[in-house]
Point group: C2
Chain length 422, copies 2
């Protein structure tokens, strides 16, 4: 009975008839387990006999077919779910951290007990992206996924872009609007995005990726300057979750990324999420919507519950484990081996020939320059030089930036942001 | 074995193992019925015993569980499907005209014989929009749908916008690229869009709308001038399929529409399609992708076929008819009663006071002006006056334009294009 749980209960109470009419199955909300079961529940007319603080009353009730887990976090959600599955219950969850970190144990146990686990609400809020990847695009070999899947950071980046403000002000604004938590670390550092990406990679590539194998950079180092230069160059900056095949390896990474301003992903602003999926048959598809919030996530949880109920009554096959659905043994590409275009900003002493020095170092590392903005001098005789490169190796780029930053003309560490042309 | 059929066959032949691995069910392509069964088939290795020109060999074969209909048009597709259903076969079709015009007979017969009809490929090509409306958003009351669902017209409008050319040149370009047919009437006049909209309305609102009850305007009257003025005003022009609730009535219409340039729908260019769905729980969702073409549509058809096969083997309930899933008796709002903002372009004699005359007529009809562009004089002493109105009644607007066009200063009939702020 947290935020999403309250939305789900509201859905059951207020549109039971609607759900029955649309699905053809009748569902009963049998029990709500909540630590604070004795507190009033936000205007909902809940029969008190349904409420309990004792999880055993849910786990051991033989009348219950489906458990909906909306606790969040790993413990005790994991233990409850495993116990529920052992006792023959099907499961709906929106717990991205749990699935990203402990999904294997849960899916294996479900398979062993021939029970289903649905989790549409775990990625993209109300967007039916799990359904699209598992069912709608089932005939496709997925080439790549690019996702804006954290509403907090997207709101902050949109605000920085539109208001021309810095991260700190945009974060404060997001907190005032309830779009960022008091401790926003999981969002800002990209960890929440990585959790969701791990789930998408499992669905799209049949590959379980441990979180520590994902290269994750958040937005904490992003400066308003770079967002403004990007815009001048026809790009916008988004925190992107990326998974793509490249030379028979799989790249899986989370970092701020420059995208062409004309691409539909660039129009995804505020707390909205979007996932671009490139399938070999369907081509590019984009799924856009509210990525979090009470009713959007409840919409996904209810859809899962309805589908489970239909399958319990009508019958169903046990679908293969995701790892078995695609040839899953694909190796991950080490971050240093990826190939990308880069946006680079160097802050150097304003002196004739500095651009030549930088260009020479880049050239020596096989990095060629696509375009340059050299701004007018600012105070302290330092000047920003902004470059966009052609495709280059991450390894080469890091070596080159290291050399540039050791030049006597370097006034601040260089900034590099990866680009995707999409 | 037309365009899409060839794609579906290719899918079965080339990724049978992949489909089995991903779905858990084994499917066999039993028969292909094609008028030209004796011609070579585009490099596909088809067992000749599978090919036939005799549709009875498909319809009467008791081993066949699923019929995939990719003939197009009403006859004989309708008769074949009804016969197949009578003989106990489930159906996959991508035939939008058939479903829009004769869907009722087909769905009722399917229900009577307890057979399923899947039709993901009929709207939006490979985009899983049917699945999203039937399953992913099942808990939502849908408020509105806005769709760019005809790739040909969207390609033409994008070309007119980007190249600054007129309809005829853009159409020629589309035909050269294979994006428009030799006889492009069904696309240009909005009829194909209306077919697809009728299917979306059935799914979203449980309401069967006869085609002649849909207000349909195509793009044949659109001038490049209006696209350029719209852009100056911060809008773009799209051929939009619209269905929305308004004061307990349902509006269903197809016409060119001005959309704010910053909205994600405005970023849908070329042959891409997108459908914006507004649900009361999930909020705005947008589904974007290739709306036609061999492999995108084949992707949808294969997904339907896989799901059907899973349900045949695993079991399933008979879902309610779409008309029963929502309270479907909602009345349509007559076009004259709709309320909209309007873009208006009048071409008048360049003389002091002409704007005042136009504004007076609009005001008399309760139409207030939000903004104006008055351009410099062109040849023949005529000048365009471009206005955007606040919300107004269609009935009032038509009366006002009639009066304006009868003014002595009027040099050409006025142009009016509806706007959606989204």
């Amino acid at each position: 009975m947290g935020t999403v749980g309250t939305g789900v209960v509201r859905g059951f109470l207020e549109r039971g008839g609607y759900l029955l009419r649309r699905s053809g199955v009748s569902m009963q909300l049998r029990r709500i387990c909540d630590r604070h079961a004795n507190e009033p529940h936000k205007g909902l007319r809940i029969d008190r006999s349904v409420l309990t603080t004792d999880v055993k009353q849910v786990l051991t009730d033989p009348e219950i077919d489906i458990i909906i887990e909306l606790i969040g976090g790993i413990h005790p959600a994991k233990e409850y779910l495993l116990e529920a599955i052992r006792r023959g219950k099907h499961v709906v969850t929106a717990n991205k951290a749990l699935l990203a970190e402990e999904g294997e144990a849960i899916f294996r146990s479900a398979r062993q007990h021939r029970r289903l686990v649905f989790f549409e609400g775990s990625v993209g809020g109300g967007i039916p992206i799990v359904k699209a990847l598992r069912e709608g695009l089932i005939a496709n070999r997925i080439e790549s996924i690019y996702g804006i899947i954290n509403g907090t950071t997207n709101y902050i980046l949109s605000t920085m872009d539109q208001m021309g403000c810095d991260l700190r002000d945009a974060l404060g604004d997001a907190q005032r609007h309830g779009y960022a938590e008091k401790n926003p670390r999981l969002d800002l550092e990209g960890i929440d995005t990585a959790h969701k990406l791990a789930i998408l990679v499992l669905l799209a590539f049949g590959r379980r990726v441990p979180l520590n194998a994902i290269h994750v950079e958040g937005i904490t180092q992003l400066s308003g300057h770079d967002i403004r230069y990007a815009r001048q160059l026809g790009y916008c900056v988004k925190l992107l979750a990326i998974a793509k095949r490249a030379q028979n390896r799989l790249e899986v990474r989370v970092h701020p990324t420059l995208l062409p301003s004309r691409h539909p992903l660039a129009a995804v602003n505020g707390v909205y999420n979007a996932i671009l999926v490139r399938g070999d048959m369907a081509g590019d598809q984009l799924f856009y919507g509210r990525g979090a919030g009470q009713m959007p996530t409840a919409s996904a949880v209810l859809a899962d519950t309805v589908q489970l109920a239909q399958q319990i009554i009508g019958g169903h096959i046990m679908p293969p484990l995701e790892e078995e659905r695609s040839r899953g043994a694909r190796r991950l590409k080490p971050m240093l081996d990826i190939c990308s275009r880069y946006y680079i900003r160097c802050t150097v002493t304003d002196r004739p020939g500095v651009l030549a020095q930088i260009a020479r170092i880049l050239g020596r590392h096989h990095i060629s320059i696509a375009s340059v903005i050299q701004q007018e001098r600012q105070r302290a005789r330092s000047v920003p030089i902004v470059l966009m490169t052609h495709d280059a190796l991450e390894r080469d780029l890091r070596l080159a930036l290291g050399q540039i930053d050791r030049l006597p003309i370097a006034r601040q560490p260089s900034v590099a942001i990866r680009m995707e042309e999409l």
